[in-house]
Every structure is written in structure tokens, then in C-alpha cells.
Symmetry: C2
Subunit: 318 residues, 2 copies
């Protein structure tokens, strides 16, 4: 099965369907989403694979209409350093699989107990808890399978691939994303101070965004100072992204969020809006976005896409 699947992947030419930047950012994001969706489609064995339930469930959550921000960041970061998007596309898709796994596990009854995600019943509502747990496990595992496949990224030095895999694993592990999830669960319904709130955001959301940005750069054999600059970029947009997400939750743009608005308040989750209010939270987010753009200075025009993504995030389209 695996061989077929890679053959299908390599017979597929991303060039055929997407144009080169500069387009306007909306067209770029749409094109990149199409590219990621098409590639993910080829990575996931068909629903005729055995056992069918797990592959149905993987497809259900992976193709639930995500905007593909994280894989797009991988490709935009690689472009900033000078690689082609196709070279890091497998890695970009793996990041989206890991992101999807965290959503499935986060939604479980034992964690956030969410019934809806992106406008559809959450995975455990559709497939039951056992399959939901195993689907998250499967997506995490398949991500590492794709990243470590020596045929996936043949133009990249294996040492750089190992370094990028390591970066991701560290970022989404117990000192990263999972640490954020733990503190988030343990803080729900309690008085939370600002350092704890920052810890939750920078770890639960921030570390994966950072791994996407840094991963794309590492695979592109970036210099140390370039990696430092992109790290500041990733840290700033990561926190901005979460704050904007929380503002959207309060302002009730449930259509855009795909979940019931006000869910943070119902869950008694502490957020930037709940501590600082909406107006101040928007100011903080703007400042973070400005900082993210400033951190790109050394790249000049090469960082045009990353800059546009920053501006798009604050315009609240993600």
C-alpha cells in the first residue's frame, strides 16, 4: 500500500495547479491551501484501506476545512531562506497532521469536551472516543513517517531533516504543546495569573507555529542569524494568532470560527480578552504583529510572503 501511495504522490505535479508569488495574499493562501489539501489527499490511504474506520476517521478530521496556516508557514519560511515550496511540502503536510491530532485529542470529553469543530461534530462525536484517541495517535505517527521518508525530500541533507524532525518533536512534546495543554486543563475554572496565561498560549499554540517557521528554515539550510530572526517572527505571530482567536471567540464570529462562540467563557477559560478586555487585547495583538514584521527586516523582499501573512492574521482572516 505504501509504495502505491508514494507513487501516486510523485506522479502528482504541484506546479501544474499553483502560480508563483507575488499574487495578492488571498490568492496565495488559497493556492497554498489547494496544494496542501491535494498533497495530504495523496498521503492518506484510501478509505478502502484496512481497517477502514481509522482511515475514514483520519480523513474526516484532516479534511474538515482547515486553513492550513501552519503548512503555509513552513513553505513561506523556506521561501524566505531560498528553497522551493515543493522541497518542504512533505514536512509542511506532516505539520498539519500533527496540528489535526492536537485538535482531536483536545476536543475529547476528558479534555475540552467540545462537540463541534470547524462547523462539524468533533471526531469523537462522529466515531466514538476510542477511534478518536487512536486517530490522533495515528496522525501524529504518520507525520513522523512522512518526515522521515528518505524519498520525500531527496534534495535536503539528511542531517537537516533529522534536525527539523527533532525541532518538531521537541516543540510538540511535554515541554511544548503538550505542556501547554496540561496547564490549560489544570487552569480551567481557576484564577490564573498572566505568566500562566502566557505559558499556556506560547506552548499550546505558539510552539507548533514556531516549529513550522523554524522547520521550514532549517530544511532550507538557513544561517544561525536567519533562524534567530525567524524565531522572533514565529514567537510574535504565534501569540498574536492566539489572542486574535480568543477575541473572535468573544465577538462571536462563530461562522468564521466554525464552533459555538463564547465557548471559552462557558469553559471558564482565562484568555487575553478576559484579563485585558477586548480593546487592550487588540492593541497587544497589533503590537505583536508589528514586532513580527520588524523581525523580518534582514530578509528584505525575500520575506514578503511572511510579512503579508502577518498582516492577514491581524486582519482576522485566519
Amino acid at each position: 500500500m505504501k509504495n502505491d501511495f508514494f507513487e501516486r504522490l510523485f506522479n502528482f505535479s504541484p506546479h501544474a495547479i499553483v502560480g508563483e508569488y507575488p499574487l495578492n495574499i488571498k490568492e496565495y493562501l488559497n493556492d497554498m491551501k489547494t496544494l496542501v489539501d491535494g498533497t495530504l489527499e495523496r498521503y492518506i490511504p484510501s478509505i478502502n484501506s484496512y481497517p477502514p474506520d481509522i482511515f475514514n476517521s483520519i480523513r474526516y478530521s484532516l479534511f474538515a476545512g482547515g486553513k492550513r496556516l501552519r503548512p503555509i508557514l513552513v513553505m513561506a519560511s523556506a521561501k524566505t531562506i531560498g528553497s522551493k515550496r515543493e522541497e518542504v511540502l512533505p514536512f509542511a503536510c506532516a505539520i498539519e497532521m500533527i496540528h489535526t491530532y492536537t485538535l482531536i485529542h483536545d476536543d475529547l470529553p476528558a479534555l475540552d469536551n467540545d462537540d463541534f469543530r470547524r462547523g462539524k461534530p468533533t471526531n469523537h462525536k462522529e466515531f466514538g472516543e476510542a477511534i478518536a484517541i487512536l486517530t490522533g495517535d495515528a496522525l501524529l505517527t504518520m507525520a513522523f513517517e512522512i518526515m522521515s521518508d528518505t524519498r520525500s525530500m531527496p534534495h535536503i541533507n539528511p542531517l537537516l531533516i533529522l534536525r527539523a524532525i527533532n525541532e518538531v518533536a521537541r516543540g510538540v512534546g511535554p515541554s511544548g504543546t503538550i505542556g501547554g495543554q496540561v496547564v490549560d486543563i489544570e487552569s480551567t475554572g481557576k484564577e490564573v495569573d498572566i505568566p500562566t496565561l502566557e505559558y499556556i498560549h506560547t506552548h499550546k499554540t505558539g510552539e507548533m507555529i514556531l516549529a513550522a517557521v523554524r522547520g521550514g528554515a532549517i530544511l532550507s539550510n538557513c544561517q544561525e542569524d536567519e533562524l534567530n530572526a525567524l524565531t522572533r517572527y514565529g514567537e510574535n505571530i504565534g501569540l498574536a494568532f492566539q489572542i486574535i482567536d480568543d477575541i473572535l471567540d468573544v465577538e462571536g464570529e462563530s461562522e468564521m470560527m466554525g464552533k459555538t462562540s463564547g465557548s471559552d467563557e462557558r469553559m471558564k477559560k482565562v484568555t487575553y480578552p478576559s484579563i485585558f478586555g477586548i480593546a487592550e487585547s487588540k492593541k497587544i495583538a497589533s503590537r505583536l504583529i508589528d514586532n513580527s514584521i520588524k523581525s523580518l527586516e534582514m530578509f528584505g523582499e525575500r520575506a514578503e510572503v511572511l510579512k503579508d501573512i502577518s498582516e492577514y492574521i491581524i486582519a482576522r482572516r485566519f
Copy 2:
């Protein structure tokens, strides 16, 4: 934190505490268990790390008294090809972390709903379901972090490391271990035919044992015919191991199993003993063990440890 942790690891000399084979197999297994335990101890951040609950929980399950069969197989397989155990020790420890993650998730209420494991309350009984789910996730992720760390296995070609990581990810993914878990859950309480039972065993238990054996050989830069022979070895001991485990469950050696005997019958799980009876199941296991030993012929004395492990498995010590 991570740097400290690797410094601690590299200041630790495995040579200081273990002798070279041949010892008798019991001493060898004890020594290897001590080596694996000591190395795992250095891989897991202390309970003073933040957030403490996740690291407490990781330690609770990882140091619950496992026999370390899978990491020992990695080292024994590497030895058969000609590498030193220290060279593959990080990979071996990662395999044990993955094994522990599968146990934690398998025990969850939504899956097997087990209260005891290795004579102690299961992870979710001790820490709650949310932490148990995240602890499994953390162990799986940390395993890939360790395997991909370019400082961990400096003498091994990065392409071989990628290939071994890929092997493990494929083995424990939805077409491997997770596939076995899915079919196992979906078969519980139903009439199951022999091909389905074989699918469950070869995937749920077999694939990880196979990944251990093959991974150790791949990291040691084995030849294709050596890998084929070791694959037959791993397939045979993997299935034998599961059948013997099921026989022990029926015969009620609960002290050795660390869980309540007869749990398969209570869960209405189909097993070799339930289909073929105890006597015939023992014959099948013996035949598999004989086949595993036959598959080692090409290695001569170099495979002495693997052969002794086979004989030890049938003597029901694991």
C-alpha cells in the same frame, strides 16, 4: 532543560555497569534491563520540571517494572549485525517509550478499560484520563525526539537513522500497531475468525517487536538478506510472544503478569487459547520459536543472544 539532560546522558557510561555477553541469558537480560532503565532515567526530565504532573505521570508508567524486551531486542539485533549496544541505545529507549505509550492508551476507559497494569493502578486510574491521554502522546513524541537527535547516535549514518525512524513510524501507525488496536476493539465480544485474530496479534504486538528487531539491524547497516532473516525472526517471536502472553492470562499467573488473570475472558477477547485450547496453543508457540531460531542460521554464533531470547520467551519468563 534539554541540554542539561543530554549532558547528563553523555556523562553516563554504560560500560561501567554491565558486562559483555556471553553471560547466561538471565544475567544478560538483567544487565540490559539495568542499562535501559538507567538510560531512560536520564532521558526523562526530573519531576521538578514544568508542568510537573505530566513528568510525574510519564515516570510512573515508564518505570512500572517493564522487562524491556523491545529495547533489548534492538540491542541484540544490532549485536548480531556487528554494532555495539551503546550505539543503538537511544533508539532502544525510544522503542520502550513507544511501547509504554501504547499500553497507557490501550488501558483507557474508552479502549480496554483496565484498572491494573504490572501490579499497579493504570495511568488514568492514578492521574485521570486527560493526563493519561497526554502522557501517551508525550511518550510517543519524546521517542521521536530522541531518535532524531543528531547527537544521540553520532556514529550512525543519518540516512540509516531516518530509515530506522521511518520503519518504527510505519510499524506503529494505522497500518501497524494502531490498526491492530482498532480491529481488537471492534472485535471485542464478537465472533472472530482466525485471520482476524492473526491480524490483531501480528499488528498490535507483532509490528512493534518487528520494528525493534529491524530497527537495530538497519541502524547497524545490515545487508538486505540479513534484514530478511531478522524479519522472519521478528515475525515468529512476535506472534509466539503474544500467544504465550494469552496462555499466561488463562493459566492465571497473575503475579508474573502484574494484572488480574482471566482478563481476556472477562473482556471477551478472542485469543489463541480460546480458539485452539491451551495444549494446541503451546504447540503453535513452540513451532514459532523453532522457526525463529531457524531463521538465524546465516548468522552462526553472532546470533547467540537472539537465539537465547527466543528460548527464554518460550520458557515463559517474559
